[in-house]
Symmetry: C2
Subunit: 426 residues, 2 copies
Amino acid sequence: MSAQPEFNLDIAEYMQSVGEAGRVASQAVAASTTAQRNNALLAMADAIEQQQEKLKTENAKDLEAGRARGLADAMLDRLELTDERISGMAEGLRQIVALPDPVGEITDMSYRPSGIQVGKMRVPLGVIGIIYESRPNVTADAAGLCLKSGNACILRGGSEAIHSNQAIAKCIQSGLELAGLPAEAIQVIKTTDRAAVGELLTMEKYVDVIIPRGGKGLIERISRESKIPVIKHLDGICHVYIDDKADFDKAVNIAVNAKTHRYGVCNAMETLLVAEGIAEKVLPELRKQYDAKNVELRGCEKTQKILTGINAATDEDWDTEYLAPILSIKVVENMAEGIQHITDHSSQHTDTIVTEDYTRARRFLREVDSSSVMVNASTRFSDGFEYGLGAEIGISTDKLHARGPVGLEGLTSVKYVVFGDGHIRE
Amino acid sequence: MSAQPEFNLDIAEYMQSVGEAGRVASQAVAASTTAQRNNALLAMADAIEQQQEKLKTENAKDLEAGRARGLADAMLDRLELTDERISGMAEGLRQIVALPDPVGEITDMSYRPSGIQVGKMRVPLGVIGIIYESRPNVTADAAGLCLKSGNACILRGGSEAIHSNQAIAKCIQSGLELAGLPAEAIQVIKTTDRAAVGELLTMEKYVDVIIPRGGKGLIERISRESKIPVIKHLDGICHVYIDDKADFDKAVNIAVNAKTHRYGVCNAMETLLVAEGIAEKVLPELRKQYDAKNVELRGCEKTQKILTGINAATDEDWDTEYLAPILSIKVVENMAEGIQHITDHSSQHTDTIVTEDYTRARRFLREVDSSSVMVNASTRFSDGFEYGLGAEIGISTDKLHARGPVGLEGLTSVKYVVFGDGHIRE
């Protein structure tokens, strides 16, 4: 069994044809009705359920090839399409149907002194290129969000999931056709050749934005190579700052939840900052709770004096996204030092202050320059579903265009619309 | 007299120090109050008026050097700082004071089922790099908009305006200092060496966005070289489509105004599309009016049959921004062909339909993918002041981040703010 289905085309020519077809299809999608796009999503969900056995057969090829190549168990687990995950894909598409259609929404309509009426209309971006790693269910999620927001998309999944992704692609395309939309509205690259990614990243004529989903290495490489704007999420080095005016219970609950609710996620806390005035009170209780969950603590000198016996945090620790039960702790003199540490070391993802002080809360909110800034809430809330966006394609740590959780709105742009009655400029 | 003031520093080192200082200053500007920024703008305006003679002396050096280098009269005219233009700069800064402060505005605040309260806060982008050509008054305009929106900026003007720009910079910096803001919040590059631009475009650590203002050549070069996101405005190939259901008078007025109100501007019409059903009626009247203003007409075959004797439009004409009294005219079968022509040739700046047909107006608005789409109004309205943005730093033909006229809001981003009372994720 081959790790890749047969593919005999010239990569550059193939990618050009994918790009051209995507651009053409994007016009049909942009002009389609809400009902058409919803019907396609429902038909895609149905097809995925109907093809459950076929999906599992194709997925088995990927799993076998993966095992033969010696993929780690965690990787194989991510790759596997279980019955539950297949239902989950279908369910995810149906949930997207239930979200309001962002396309064509007109806002801020007002008359100007000249007599023209000006507003903004929300419009699709056009063609979105998404590059992701092993999980095949991303294929359905990403396709659904792009379609709902009126975009065509070109998806490039992990090479280890090629058979699974192609099988999912067939379900998606049959759904599109049933709803009268072009199958090229959602294309899944048929080759695992890395040269295809290189082509995709330079097809500025056909692709409007690139969204990479995966590890930091993948995202950095793509950002470096891409000639097309990238909506990126680099890493999540999130902080909780416990102010000396914090409520003790809130501080402990938030610091424990932000670190231990889940370890491998970008909105988990990686560094805890504690004001000197409350450190001796709050740190021993936190140590107790972290010990119970086997979280390794690494502290600055002042922390080590209070929590004797823990390891020292090195300079590197302050810039590390552990994604693991490890926490670095720093005792700071006051909020100003805490904010300065966040400015120097945060990845501008999510940072929280715990305080009962009104003025400090306002200052923290204003001065911390991260995609989410919180008061008395766990960093774990930084998430498209928790924010009410309905779904998310990723979390952007960029400042331009989309910032924070990127939902349907982040996959759209706006244009100005102007209504006149023969108005001319004098 | 030298064309450049003395400058003996290493360019790379100098630019690094400018970048670092800009980043530090940006924090102070972001944290400053509305009143502080407004006071700085007023003090800048006063300083410019007080230094009128000094500005003219320095400007004279640039003019003399320009004449010695054989600059064209039009270029010298753009370079000149007259009393009127100096007052205009001061007045422009005072108008920016009157605009509402976008920084810190919180919108979309709502409670989520989890109990957290989520909203969005408008925040500055950070450090904005602006690269522009000859007019020295851009220095004051750009500085004012960046400061009002809470950003630091690094300005690189045309080398031919170096003395004028440095003199304006002194006024700006004295204004900042009077208001208690760091002088490095607005830096004007002190060297005319082109290597400085190369450095600026690669200082991703210190600069958040680049805005080029100038000709297409400048903007293309900067977009190609920049490692930093660019908000760009390439060109304005704007269309008016006269539908066969158009009102005759509105059609003529709009087509004449869009072409002849001003020629050298990006929102002037460059191609007129006319539906077959109304062409014989409307084109002869238009010819009369264009002839009276010495507008050269170039037509497709069908147009040439109606307007005998005019030149043929070549393929190149449909993709040309004339910025001159020249107009290409194409007769199309119907709106679908008109939209297709726009899709193929528009620079996605501004396109207008003239029609009394409700359904066609709706379809044109939805399907034309340009930064401004209009019904029964002249393309000349596509402008920050006309749209009520108060001022504009440029018009973006990009789709990501800012699209259309870019005012204060386009110089900002948003972050999510979350309020809890000790909320943790279950």
